[in-house]
Symmetry: C2
Subunit: 461 residues, 2 copies
């Protein structure tokens, strides 16, 4: 089955996201999908809270003149902004944009709050919906008109040095986050012509989807003083002078959810990383006539023990166990525990891992330890497996001769043969949009890989 | 100080909400305010999750023809809907509304999901932003154009009886929620002319603000089969027939946050209920020259113990203790603990309650128990104090004579004398909009008070 078909199907079958809404690119997070989103963003929230970011909530509407204040920025967004023009039946005096992102909103307010260097650093974030009038083909959780979950962080600092350190911290936080959801990433410095509109430079996190195309799943922007000058974020320095704030911003969206679905899933359905699984363990009683009660009792007992540490569900539906296995495999529940009368006699329980199908008989009394051990291994091996898949999609092209046309042919050939990311050792003469035009693919940017600097190239989502 | 002035000032001074945004009725939840919101809605989420409600996320935009599908409903909202008419520079083929509420969105999707009685009950909720183009005077967290936090639940059932039971459950859940944030409420059945557009009837939760005006802080609507018929939510009954789903919906917004600020606060600042306090305990070292270290050590030790159960902050700023007390009183931190060298010698700690200023010297080794005991009492007495304030604002008018004009004069007099809620024993002849016109106030509806049925009347926000 083609990946894109598999992806659409699993969103529906596992109850993640329903796109049958009468606006293209707008859909519904279903209960099971919403829980994955909730646990994922909770991890991100915790990482941000632990590094002294403050959660906030800013307005969704942006007056036209505010959005247009930063020239480069508005140029980057104006073709895809939704405009509110009427309230009730009356035309509004000034058009209001649905936020495509919140730089202008937040920096307008920061101007009210930042007066002196002791007001800095200021590290804010919010998790909100944002909007893009996408004219391209939309895809659920990947390219949406309503991005339902956008975690955007915005910081302001009193020195360039602090600002640079913040970029490092942001990259570290995102690295940890993607580790938690077992998604391997390639970090690149985006080329000038593809950086965030208004930024000094952009660092981006890409991963590779099963179809070999890359997906940008996180970005970190060094804004320097560009926005600060436009929004007059001037403050008094320790020595009594004036300076403009140095700023960064960084974001992660629903694409993180799309990635963990796409990258870990298999032909049976989802495979969910432990920490974001709505149900971490499903208990399935194997009932035999006359011995139902003892099994049900045992299941209750184990469930109670396991619930002290995990999200547990007991599937006591009156259907065949095989159908139950199937249902929970589709939903990607990390661990299934089966208990029948013989297991109870022997003091055993059978545990089955979703990621590799491994079936183990363990001592029932020791169930908590067994699960803990299994989950540790599950998590590590999920990331490892995903990393191996990603590595297979990376092709390094040696580039001794500097014949551009030949090189572009080599890149195109490699892309069509191997897909994924093609790495070409950095040479200045090819690092431009003209070369990008030749290869019919995207230049992701400058990427350090195994200690060496490359230009990274891929077909992207 | 007038209440409205106090309210505006405290939002700013305590760091709750900043309204200096260039769109009327749109503002920013500041970090401290956001945390109160977060903990408050977490309580609500837990109550809903525990009663088998599923959290979801539906689109924010509603096509005009979808919003207009239910005739009564759109009539109730059309004057205050924001309309998106353009994407980029292109006019949209069909106008899109910013959701004023999500009945139409959700029921359109429920139609896809509900086929047979076993698909029911369906109990969904979401916490989202909603929009009203308010032409009235806006007030922070009370009357907003962007309602930043709207918890809306929507349920569908296979029988009228289940639907009625759901109304009871919803009222119970909301009752528990308001108890948790120590807000006393009066529950009324809204009059026909003030029910939710499209509902069979509306039950509403009102509280009374310090200025004697009532504030609607929660509503529960029995929709019967009205929307179900419009949205064709038809399902197969157990006996193979067809029926339309029976529906309810209920909502709570930022007004819950406004209430807990308004009702518990005093001349010194906020008084926050324990469970939603961003900081539950602030520790303040009393430093004397030469004895700093021992105090700092003790504070660290206590903080570590207290953090196992509470949200704790150590204020080690280099300013006078008096200023610290003042700052944390403004922010409404429930408990302050002061430790000086003499306290340490004596094995004591001084704890000071924010709600009543009570100062107690307790055994330091027993600090966790002391705090727990104090918090129990704090919570009970916060609700009790608020309830007493509310009761003082309730005036029962005896109504033996049925002279409408005389009665309306009595009501008007009582309102101007006592403010708050005026209760008039129910008689059919006055329960109409004409009478409401006479009294220059709002009929809240039918209210059971001390076991008797009244018509409740008030000046409302």
């Amino acid at each position: 089955m083609e990946f894109s078909e598999w992806y659409s199907e699993i969103l529906e079958k596992a109850g993640i996201y329903d796109l049958r809404y009468p606006i293209k690119g707008c859909g519904v997070y279903l209960p099971y999908g919403f829980k994955i989103r909730r646990y994922s963003f909770e991890i991100l929230r915790k990482l941000l809270d632990d590094t002294n970011h403050d959660e906030t909530l800013f307005p969704m509407l942006i007056p036209e003149n505010l959005l247009a204040k930063e020239g480069e920025h508005i140029k980057g967004f104006e073709d895809e902004v939704y405009w509110v023009t009427h309230g009730g039946k009356s035309p509004l005096e000034i058009k209001l944009a649905l936020r495509p992102t919140s730089e202008t909103t937040m920096y307008y307010m920061m101007k009210q709050w930042i007066k002196v260097h002791t007001d800095l650093p200021m590290k804010l974030y919010q998790v909100v919906n944002t909007f893009r009038y996408e004219t391209k083909h939309t895809r659920p959780l990947i390219r949406l008109r309503e991005i339902m979950s956008f975690k955007e962080a915005h910081t302001a600092h009193s020195t360039q040095d602090d600002c640079n350190k913040q970029i490092k911290e942001a990259i570290e936080i995102y690295g940890k986050f993607f580790d938690e959801i077992c998604i391997p990433v390639i970090i690149s410095k985006r080329p000038e012509w593809d950086k965030f509109p208004g930024a000094d430079y952009t660092m981006a996190f890409d991963t590779i989807f099963p179809d070999g195309k890359t997906m940008q799943i996180g970005t970190v922007h060094n804004l320097g003083q560009n926005f600060a000058k436009t929004f007059e974020l001037e403050f008094e320095t320790p020595d009594g002078n004036k300076d403009y704030a140095y700023q960064t911003c960084y974001g992660i969206s629903d694409r993180a959810i799309a990635s963990l679905i796409a990258i870990h899933g298999d032909e049976k359905g989802l495979v969910i990383p432990i920490d974001v699984a709505p149900i971490q363990i499903v208990l399935i009683p194997l009932l035999f006539k006359g011995k139902e009660e003892i099994v049900i009792e045992k299941i209750k007992e184990l469930s109670k023990i396991l619930k002290t540490k995990y999200r547990v569900h007991v599937d006591d539906r009156d259907i065949r166990p095989g159908r139950k296995y199937n249902d929970w495999e589709i939903k990607g529940v990390p661990l299934r525990i089966e208990i029948g009368p013989r297991d109870i006699e022997e003091g055993k329980a059978v545990i089955v891992r979703r990621d590799n199908g491994q079936k183990m008989t363990v001592e029932a009394f020791n169930i908590l330890n067994e699960v803990e051990k299994t989950f540790e291994d599950y998590k590590a091996s999920l990331l490892q497996k995903a990393t191996e898949k990603l590595e297979k999609y990376i092709t390094v092209i040696e580039n001794d001769k500097k014949d551009l046309l030949l090189l572009s042919e080599k890149v195109k050939f490699a892309l069509s043969e191997s897909k994924g990311i093609i790495l070409v050792p950095y040479i200045e003469s090819i690092y431009n949009e003209e070369f990008e035009g030749l290869i019919d693919a995207s230049v992701l940017g400058l990427t350090t890989y195994n200690g060496k600097e490359y230009i990274s190239i891929a077909r992207t989502y």
